[in-house]
Every structure is written in structure tokens, then in C-alpha cells.
């Protein structure tokens, strides 16, 4: 029941932010639509190996990726900038809980964004995404993989924010991560055509393994090892991120740099 309060608070805050900056949000949607449409068109017309459906789902997931990776560090930056970090820290909710609720609200908004970007793209290109949901097995695996990818992405974001507590400007690296994920997760460049060292790097990226599983489903192959690794990787990253975040908070509180900006 108590969780409802933090969610209500974050929905309220987000709603007023949206009301004030609605024009910026609309332009952002348009810009992302143009960017993703261009990439999709380029990838599907030049590469026969990349499946249209995986590319489509991958690009849609990348919208989540961009949000997940930068969410926690953006929030931390904003709280420190406004000086509100100490104020929210003396409330009835811990900082990770507030950030988590904020992430949940942002995620809901990301779903709306995906609808507004994904639907016109779907109408325009008609990718055969039905393949992921033809059987119950495929549907379950696809859902699990998508959830695992989102958890891994947020874990990476939280890890970045944890480091941001100690190294103030590290948050700016979130955009670098976003583009590494876009280009080296197998969405744009197919995993099979990557050189060996790049494959290892791709596996370490939050979406790499998941995209391979989805690509496998599209080719009627169930990559069980990859499915298991995707789930384990998400649990590992998220656990490490939460522990690191809590330790960073304790460290900066002890050193008096909690609200440093």
C-alpha cells in the first residue's frame, strides 16, 4: 500500500513535466521516428542475414535501452542540480526506491512512446513480428527475454548512476552506451558477420544475448544456452548494480559529497 504513495508522487511529477515540456516531447518522438525508420530501412535493404522482425523488435527495444541506461544517472543529475537529493532522502522512501518508482513511470511512458513510434513503423514496413508469438513456447521465451533485457539495461543504468555518485560527470557516458548497444548488439550489424573480438564485446552488452535469442526464434531455432545466459546475466547485473548503488550512497554520505554537483 505504501508503494502507491511513491508511485503517485512520481506520476504527479512526471505529468507536470510532460505538461510543461509537451512540445519538446513531441519533437523528440518525431526525431526518434525519423532516426529509427532510416536505420530500419537501411538495415533491411542492405543485409539479407538480418531478419526484419528481429531488427524491428531490436530497434523498439532500443527505445527502452536509451531510457533505461540514462534513467538513473539522469535522475541523479537532476536531483543534485536542483539540490533536492537531500530533501527526497529524508522522506519515508529510500533513494533506490524513489528511483525505481521513477523508472517504472518512465517505462510506462516509454510504452506510450513505442506505440507512437512503433505503430507507424509497423504500418509502413509490415515486419513479420508474429513469428515471436506463433507458439506458446515462443511467446513465453520472447516475453522472458524482453523482460530480462529491460532488467539488464536498467541494471547498467543503475551501475552508471552509482559511479556517477563518485565521479560526477560519468553520466555523460550514457549516450555512448546507447549507441554501442544500437550498433553492436546485433540489431544493425548481424552477430554472425561480426569479427570474433567484437562478438565477445557484443555478448557483454545488455541486449547482445537477448537479440541473438530473438534472431534464433525468427530462424526457427531455440538457443537454450543463450536464453539461460540472458536471464542469469540480467540477475547478475541487477544485483551488482543495486549493491554498488547502495555502497556508493554510503560512501558519498560519509565523505560529505552526497549532494555535490
Amino acid at each position: 500500500m505504501g508503494t502507491m504513495y511513491v508511485l503517485k508522487a512520481e506520476i504527479l511529477k512526471f505529468w507536470y513535466d510532460l505538461k510543461r515540456y509537451k512540445f519538446n516531447y513531441l519533437i523528440g518522438l518525431l526525431a526518434t521516428f525519423i532516426f529509427l525508420t532510416g536505420i530500419y530501412r537501411g538495415v533491411t535493404s542492405s543485409s539479407e542475414e538480418s531478419g526484419n522482425a528481429t531488427t524491428f523488435i531490436g530497434l523498439i527495444l532500443w527505445i527502452f535501452a536509451a531510457r533505461c541506461i540514462s534513467d538513473a544517472s539522469d535522475n541523479l543529475f537532476e536531483e543534485r542540480y536542483y539540490g533536492t537529493i537531500e530533501q527526497i532522502s529524508v522522506t519515508r522512501f529510500s533513494l533506490p526506491n524513489i528511483f525505481m518508482a521513477r523508472f517504472f513511470v518512465d517505462l510506462l511512458f516509454a510504452v506510450i512512446r513505442i506505440f507512437f513510434i512503433g505503430l507507424p513503423m509497423f504500418i509502413l514496413f509490415s515486419p513479420k513480428i508474429g513469428i515471436f508469438f506463433t507458439t506458446l513456447e515462443n511467446s513465453i521465451i520472447t516475453t522472458i527475454v524482453i523482460i530480462s533485457i529491460i532488467i539488464t539495461l536498467y541494471g547498467f543504468g543503475l551501475l552508471l548512476a552509482a559511479l556517477g555518485f563518485m565521479f560526477l560527470r560519468i553520466g555523460s557516458f550514457s549516450s555512448v552506451f546507447q549507441y554501442l548497444i544500437l550498433f553492436f548488439s546485433g540489431i544493425v550489424i548481424p552477430y554472425e558477420s561480426m569479427p570474433q573480438p567484437l562478438r565477445a564485446f557484443s555478448n557483454l552488452l545488455p541486449m547482445g544475448l537477448g537479440i541473438r535469442v530473438l534472431s534464433g526464434i525468427e530462424k526457427n531455432m531455440l538457443l537454450f544456452k543463450e536464453i539461460l545466459l540472458t536471464i542469469l546475466y540480467s540477475i547478475l547485473i541487477f544485483t551488482v548494480a543495486v549493491i554498488t548503488f547502495k555502497k556508493s550512497v554510503r560512501h558519498v554520505k560519509q565523505t560529505g559529497k552526497y549532494s555535490a554537483y
Binding site: V6, G83, Q87
Partner: protein
């Protein structure tokens, strides 16, 4: 409350309070009632729907104090509540704090460099220097403890008078129309007598020193007051 850096500039004043009320698990009904009362008390109800970034510093401070009172606390910590305020806004905040103490029986623990403000609003004062307590007590006690009587002696300026004053190492300044104002501590009675006996003597006045002057004389500038 640290200055007024505890508000979201892009949210309206009322929504800032409602947001923090939810984070304190206060129900919407109770929160709305308290917010109405607090905005009324602070005199910013007419601006509740304006964005905080458009508020003046004084209004932001008032909203920050409202935020602190939202949970009906018995103790509130304020860090430099008068920073970046003009004289009128500073007086308003001073009166608001005094009223809250009287009406809501809230204890304020204030960190401030503004001794005039400290003198007006506090019952007890602690002076800190390099993180250590150098004096503490009731505001009245501290003032009387540290108060040394001071006389201001006015003399006609000439070379011999200036020589005497320079030799005695007392604080003095040349004023308009060839008059010298000299500050003479009451314990230096012999000097006071000698100055009064000079032919150049014009008048002498006993000076009441305020809290800020005492503070500066005792500890210089690197001291802060926690009250």
C-alpha cells in the same frame, strides 16, 4: 532546509508540496488541507500554481519552509534561511519563523552568519569556530557576557591629538569638518580621562553594541552561529 535548493523549479509551488507529501505517505485529503493552511500562513497562496522557477528568492524560501512544516515536525533545521534575500524579504521570513514558533510550537535549529537575524529570532545560541564550540548560552546571556561598554569620544583634529591616538593604539577615524571619532573601551579609564581633559575634546557618547558587532569583535569573520 538548505537555502531554497530543495524545490523542483519546473513544478508549480503547490505541486512541489503535494509531491513531497506523497513521499511522506500523507494522504491526498490531509495533504491538500495542510498545503492550503501553509500557503495561507506564508502568504503565497495566490502564486501556488506558478512555476517555482518564476518565484522570487523570498517566495522560494517561504515555500521551502512550508515544505519542512508539511509533516508537522517538532524540530526543523534551517541552513542560512536568509541567504540571497533583500531586506524586506528577510524581515518577512524572520516574522514568519517567529510566528510559527509562537503558534505551532516548533523548535527551529538555524545555522546562520546573520547575527542581526540570530539576535531577533533565537532563545539560545552556539558560536562555532573551525567546527568547535567557542561560546554557548541563551541569546541574552551571551550578549551580556560578551558585552563590553564602549565610548565614542569626539575631538577636534590636529597633529598632537593624532599623535596621542596613534601612540595609544586605539581605533579612530577622521570625519568631516576636522573632527576625529575615537572608540575607547570602558576598561581603559585612564585614556578616557586623558582624552576628556584635552583642549580638543568636543563630546563623549556611550555606545550600545549589537550582537553582530560583539560577534565580529570576539571572533572575526570565520565564525558561524548555530542557534
Amino acid at each position: 532546509m538548505e537555502g531554497s535548493r530543495n524545490l523542483y523549479g519546473y513544478l508549480p509551488g503547490r505541486i512541489n508540496l503535494l509531491y513531497f507529501a506523497y513521499l511522506h505517505k500523507i494522504s491526498k485529503k490531509t495533504a491538500e488541507k495542510r498545503i492550503d493552511e501553509l500557503l495561507e500562513l506564508m502568504g503565497i497562496k495566490d502564486f501556488q500554481n506558478d512555476y517555482v522557477m518564476d518565484y522570487s528568492s523570498g517566495m522560494q524560501k517561504k515555500l521551502s519552509i512550508s515544505l519542512c512544516l508539511l509533516t508537522e515536525p517538532s524540530v526543523v533545521f534551517l541552513d542560512e534561511p536568509l541567504s540571497a534575500l533583500d531586506v524586506i524579504a528577510a524581515e518577512e521570513i524572520t516574522n514568519i519563523i517567529k510566528n510559527i514558533v509562537k503558534e505551532k510550537h516548533v523548535t527551529f535549529i538555524i545555522a546562520s552568519h546573520r547575527m542581526d537575524f540570530v539576535e531577533k529570532v533565537t532563545d539560545r545560541v552556539v558560536w562555532l569556530k573551525n567546527g568547535r564550540i567557542v561560546r554557548k548560552g541563551s541569546t541574552h546571556e551571551l550578549k551580556s557576557l560578551t558585552a563590553k561598554q564602549m565610548y565614542e569620544v569626539y575631538l577636534r583634529s590636529n597633529d598632537s591629538v593624532e599623535k596621542v591616538l596613534s601612540k595609544e593604539k586605539v581605533e579612530w577615524e577622521k570625519m568631516a569638518a576636522g573632527i576625529i571619532k575615537c572608540k575607547c573601551p570602558s576598561e581603559n579609564r585612564s585614556l578616557l580621562q586623558r582624552l576628556i581633559c584635552l583642549n580638543e575634546f568636543i563630546s563623549v557618547e556611550k555606545v550600545e553594541r549589537d550582537f553582530e558587532t560583539i560577534f565580529k569583535e570576539e571572533y572575526g569573520n570565520n565564525v558561524r552561529s548555530e542557534s
